[in-house]
Subunit: 392 residues, 2 copies
């Protein structure tokens, strides 16, 4: 299969090119072509979005359901939003529930269904701070424990499945955890943390790669105690994740100056979507001011105003607008921050791929990499999506 | 007079040059010379430091004494620290005391003594926020009042003497004050302020040029309400003043990332020194944890530990180390932030000159500008200082 466009976004520039795909890989990028090709002349061809912080999407929630089916549904529907690969993300849960999550992920990791590539697991917790828990469950925010981490690690059939862990470096034993993860190629992200600047400065050398959802769930900046936010701003080599650019959680102007400071090399986008329709128990979302609860097979949503709505949690179209998709997050961001296509492709694809160590096969349109490709119109609507060369 | 060095810092680069001075001005910068010259081969030749936020220095305090003599002493001693021109700075005081300050400044403005060039007055208040008063006197922090501003303005014999005003844009009538000042070429700086981001965004167009002592005395950044700090970070065109780089008031790392974000075009250094030895009444400095009080012609210093010291407030050498000089502030900064000489000359000279509108005659080593020149050794010690061509 050959895809043609006047605007193919490669790391070397935006080029007019014919991208040849075989066995799910990009095998050539040519200036001319003498065989049949799919003509996307007026669309932008970009590497697919990589969401490394997503708990659930629409009618599948790994965090809330902890089933293979929940991840398979994410695989099925994420390409509609331009996401061609992802890390299914846990939250702070009981040890048993966390183990159940890893076991479910195991099954999918070895039995991928068609759709977005399931790259593995991002463990957001349980080794995070109670004080900065955000939407996490306080009783399950615990201190780092290597034996427990080993138990999680050993539950994986493929020892490369857990690729990322969000943790609070100020907690006891964090240094050992960071080293343990680093040795096993699990990237360490600072998140749900009240760490001091000096704590991060000291532990960075053992393998702290960046911060999870910059600004949220972390100790704020002060000019005499820079804390997590200040460390993320100061240290050139720390990556900053921004989750869901709606302008609600983090104002666009805050994103904007961090992006300018850190450059397009050290910022990446995620959605942090939860698949909230699939909640298994009543759940109050304090930022949205809405209560979500399962009710006889339906999802009951009670707003702070008292207004009540029932929707079908299984029906994709009914639930897809409950949260902001990767596609819409990109559009929101571009309304407020000037960015060329190459920078966009870095913060949505190359940087998350690098962060979790899969940039040998993901993150850019390059010969030899997986054919994870999206075609966008000039308004950044996702028109076509290919995951390993298969169209969705 | 001709000054020669292998390293003359001009805006076009660091050049080997012969700088010819006549009648207090730079009249040529040449590659060769066939007359007598002063040989500073191994020293760095830079434009003199310009301190536009200094209340007092060593044995002269404009803020505390409000006398022509206090400014004359600043003129006399500032060249020792490389400062070749300055704005004497008021604080929030009673109306009568503020008027007395302006009258004292008037006298000096028309009767400059030798030494650093007295460029006029920076009014830090009285139109500032009680809530963000810092070391200012709360009872004298008042709302903007155009009639009162006009009274201050009209007290000047030369209507260009007041060059800068620090104010809180969130206060009632601030818009009128900002416009009033702008029309009279008085630069408006946001300081001692709890302004919201939106307030600054709206009032910027009427003439807000930047912020006074970045981070201190202003509402902190939050990612959902960026406030003064966030506005300073976000808006490219706002200048950021950093006062006294000791690492105590503002951590070096906080300075560092702001400098990288804003670039060497929009940051400038001041000392915010008070001439604390000249206090006229007991004064507790909460950051230092020391009480200063006049005591029978001596200055009594009582530390929080109970330790007491007496010094002679008239004796330059006894008091010069009570506060960190411009020279030492530069040295501190350079220990922690990489900066070439041209950037250094911008943030210490060109930028403050631009900010207060005197860059037609100050701020760089250029033909036609005042011969305000310092010679530094490689450790940034001030070895020689020329103010309008006169050596100090």
């Amino acid at each position: 299969m050959i895809i043609y466009s006047k605007q193919v976004c490669t790391l070397d520039g935006i080029v007019e090119a014919y991208v040849k795909i075989k066995d799910g890989k990009i095998i050539s990028i040519d200036k001319s072509c003498d065989s049949e090709f799919i003509d996307y002349s007026n669309l932008i061809i970009m590497p697919g979005y990589i969401d490394i912080h997503i708990h659930g999407w629409a009618n599948g929630s790994f965090w809330m359901e902890k089933t293979p089916e929940s991840i398979w549904k994410m695989q099925e529907h994420l390409p509609k939003c331009g996401v061609t690969s992802f890390l299914a993300t846990t939250g702070a849960d009981s040890i048993e529930e966390t183990c159940r999550s890893i076991e479910a992920a195991n099954i999918v990791y070895l039995n991928q269904k068609k759709g977005a590539d399931f790259l593995g697991v991002h463990m957001e917790g349980p080794f995070i701070s109670k004080e900065y828990k955000g939407l996490q469950q306080e009783e399950h925010c615990i201190e780092p424990n290597i034996n427990l981490m080993e138990r999680f690690y050993n539950l994986q059939d493929d020892k490369s499945m857990i690729k990322l862990m969000t943790l609070a470096p100020e907690l006891n034993n964090a240094k050992e955890l960071i080293k343990y993860n680093k040795e096993r190629k699990i990237q360490n992200s600072i998140g749900h943390s009240g760490a001091s600047f000096d704590c991060i400065k000291e532990l960075k050398q053992y393998g702290l790669g960046g911060v999870t959802h910059m600004f949220s769930g972390m100790k704020a900046f002060h000019h005499r105690e820079l804390s997590v936010v200040g460390a993320a701003l100061y240290f050139d080599d720390l990556y900053c994740e921004f989750a869901k650019q709606t302008g609600m959680t983090v104002k666009h102007e805050a994103f904007d100056f961090v992006y300018r400071l850190k450059s397009d090399d050290k910022v990446y986008l995620t959605t942090d979507c939860q698949g909230i329709a699939r909640t298994q128990k009543p759940f109050y979302h304090y930022i949205r001011g809405e209560k979500f609860e399962p009710d006889n097979g339906k999802l009951k949503i009670t707003k702070d105003s008292g207004e009540i709505e029932f929707i079908d949690p299984d029906d994709y179209d009914s639930v897809k607008d409950l949260e902001v998709s990767y596609e819409d997050s990109v559009k929101n961001m571009l309304k407020h921050t000037n960015m060329d296509l190459i920078s966009l492709s870095k913060i949505t694809s190359l940087n998350p791929a690098k962060y979790i160590g899969v940039d040998n096969k993901k993150g850019s349109i390059e010969i030899g990499k997986d054919a994870d490709i999206i075609a966008l119109d000039s308004n950044f609507n996702v028109i076509k999506c290919y995951c390993k060369g298969i169209e969705y």
